[in-house]
Symmetry: C2
Subunit: 457 residues, 2 copies
């Protein structure tokens, strides 16, 4: 068979079996798996394990210090191994009121499928399995070895994936990796991404008293936890948006000329972002273009994700809060290290008079990138161009974070993200949904990648 005949047969198989794939996705979405609360996690790990087995994978549930990892493998004709990283846990569904249909029940409305996790990441799990099933159906067997690592703590920041990988390096050995997300951009072009910023997530806690006090009594003489926290936060980042932690920028690697070329080719989504989020302006006077794209992903950031203290109800209450808390994330770029930044943050607070501020560590992952000139990157681009019949967009690194570091630096794999999402899909929000066409294209893209990958040297 010629390659084009194979791909045509793959396409036919996929189109004939879409309802079955949706049925499989419905089964998976019907099983809650909220890592934030633990709801349904173990049941879901078993379900995924069963699904892999039903697809002919040698599958097992591997314990970690946290939620288990489902690992599956199936050998093929070539000695090349493609590894798929995915996760079976989902974000909490709250706020429940905002859902138009129950979050743990797949609901089709028009050409969209609604459920918590229908994109992130259960749609990807099923799309990988479906694409591989199509290849196997057409080619009689898998043309290369395939491995699945499907973890259950991605939505918690993957706290146990690095040790899992260190403990299972041989088992996980592979030649390339397809990451857990991706899809099309605002314009409908397939978008691949090659890296992620790291993250350090902390909670800063000020405590100044054992109980709240009346502001009339102590407003002029009692310390106030909310003020302490305001001042501590301000010491970390001021109006100029520069992060004032000594040594914070030490290991920041500037984007290369090649990176900037690639960025320049990315569509300018400044206008869409401003509209979508109702923004007056971007920081640093940025308007759009390559400078905006560069700042978004090649510069580290410090975000207050939330804070709370004292009375927040309706009307007035005159109270001096005994405690105040802020959730803060630092997005890190290569080669920053969250452990090092955590130490520098502690040193910063201690040396600026805020040794009373407690730091609670909520998680961290390191930034990592795949070389845009790696041949596997070109392979996935070529496959996407064929599937989507549009020019594929490549992001050298994206602003978000994930545990790609040990895959890139410990397993030494090129890692490319490609998937079934689109920017309006409400992942992490109510009414998360998957467009059926994106699902089909993602299945095809998986199959085309596998077919091409099996032919590499």
């Amino acid at each position: 068979m010629t390659i084009s005949a194979i791909l045509k047969d793959i396409d036919n198989y996929i189109h004939e079996n879409v309802d079955d794939f949706i049925h499989e996705l419905a089964r998976l979405c019907g099983q809650p798996s909220v890592s934030a609360t633990g709801m349904g996690i173990h049941e879901c790990a078993h379900l995924v394990n069963d699904m892999l087995a039903a697809h002919g994978y040698n599958s097992e549930i591997i314990r970690t210090k946290g939620n288990p990892v489902v690992f599956g493998r199936q050998n093929g004709h070539s000695d090349k191994t493609l590894l798929f990283y995915l996760h079976y846990d989902v974000q909490p569904p709250e706020p429940m009121d905002a859902w138009e249909s129950p979050p743990f029940e797949l609901s089709r409305r028009g050409e969209n499928l609604y459920a918590r996790g229908v994109v992130d990441d259960k749609g990807h799990i099923v799309a990988r399995l479906a694409g591989l099933a199509a290849v196997r159906h057409v080619m009689g067997d898998l043309p290369c070895n395939v491995k699945f690592v499907i973890e259950g703590e991605e939505e918690l920041g993957s706290p146990n994936i690095s040790p899992f990988i260190e403990d299972n390096k041989e088992k996980l050995s592979a030649d390339a990796c397809i990451w857990e997300f991706g899809g099309v951009n605002h314009e409908g072009s397939p978008t691949l991404s090659l890296g992620m910023r790291g993250i350090l997530y902390v909670e800063l806690i000020a405590k100044t008293a054992s109980i709240d006090a009346h502001s009339g009594l102590g407003g002029s003489i009692f310390p106030n936890a909310a003020w302490r926290l305001v001042w501590a936060l301000q010491s970390i980042k001021d109006l100029d948006e520069r992060i004032n932690i000594a040594g914070f920028y030490d290991n920041v690697r500037l984007p290369s000329k090649r990176d900037l070329e690639i960025l320049a080719n990315l569509p300018d989504d400044g206008a869409q972002l401003r509209e979508m989020y109702g923004l007056d302006h971007f920081l640093h006077g940025l308007k759009g273009g390559t400078e905006l794209k560069k700042a978004a992903v090649f510069e580290p950031s410090c975000t207050i994700c939330g804070f709370g203290s004292g009375y927040q109800g309706p009307g007035s209450k005159t109270v001096i809060p005994a405690e105040a808390r802020a959730k803060v994330d630092f997005r890190l770029v290569p080669d920053q290290d969250p452990d090092e930044i955590l130490k520098k943050l502690r040193q910063h607070l201690d040396s600026t008079g805020f040794d009373d501020i407690e730091i609670q560590y909520n998680g961290g992952t390191r930034p990592a990138r795949t070389d845009p000139d790696h041949p596997f990157v070109q392979l996935t681009i070529d496959a996407a161009n064929k599937v989507y019949r549009r020019d594929t967009v490549v992001a050298p690194i994206i602003g978000g974070s994930g545990p790609n570091y040990p895959f890139i630096h410990s397993l030494k794999l090129p890692v490319v993200s490609a998937g079934v999402g689109y920017p309006g899909g409400n992942i992490h929000a109510p009414n998360e949904h998957l467009r059926i066409n994106d699902f089909v294209q993602g299945i095809r893209h998986t199959a085309y990648i596998v077919e091409a990958f099996s032919r590499t040297d």
Copy 2:
């Protein structure tokens, strides 16, 4: 009858009827009246009106733009008029879990009575009525005219009491006023207070987007409402505790030599405060003594009473908050004016680059004081000395706030606070309680004041 015979009969009457007074208090506390939510407000106004009528007062419910005021009057033998200011509304009972008995059900445990409002301010309402009933019983009739102004919005900052007073100046005319709170201090000494700081209560609101965004997407390029608010707050007050609003201190009147003398005679409660609230230290390196007392009441303050933004739940959520809010109170000293401070706050934010920060005005009252050398002050001190058989403590001004300004400056009354509370009574907190002995002493003090007042020229 001699004065001492009258007072003895008053005491006997009070001691014989304590159970009835407690019963009356139970009835009043059983009626919720939460001005923050409106719960039971109108029912409570009617109940208070009925209670005044049952005590022989000519009573009426007077509408305001907010909750109604209950006004009662009863004429006596002299042409002197004593006015009692009180309030029938209470603080919200939340958090409900922390109550050992239902907040709207008077519960006696040992020598304490528990209920929301049992001290603040329903215990005072009943104590005034009981003391007056005792005087009337013994003397056959009231020896002077008595008026009651019992409002329903004190816990909201009394937004409508000033216009109410302006509209009813003749009706409210009097010669002196007993205020709604008071009691004994840590050492059990009766404590009278002669003034209150003013207050300006605002909510500061930052809005930077129409919806929250993912911090991975926009952490480096999107404005963040939580950061805006942190910086705006820091611009108002920095680590040195100095309020940086231009002109904020313009009208601050320093305490007189006489004020400082009075302060020096007040007990030093620094150690108790530190223990009670679990404080490491006081601000400005203060340790106690007259300097601490002076700072507590004669210096204005700026308190963050609460703030909130973004994600405050368990674990991590990586979000750029679209909105952030802080509740802030400014305690003001004579002759600061909340309206003027509000204007200066707006000017401050505008001139320091924070014109995007919205100010929501939640209320304000002006500071006001009664001259410590006014004869009515000495009268209430003498009465307290007789009742409590201990030296009475007089505070020239306290740190808290209330609507005494129009009583002092518009009705031209000397205003003295005296009452039934004690520092451990948890007013505004769960398990608010009244010690029965304090209740009895407060009733006696009311009666003794009325008896003495009727004999003034």
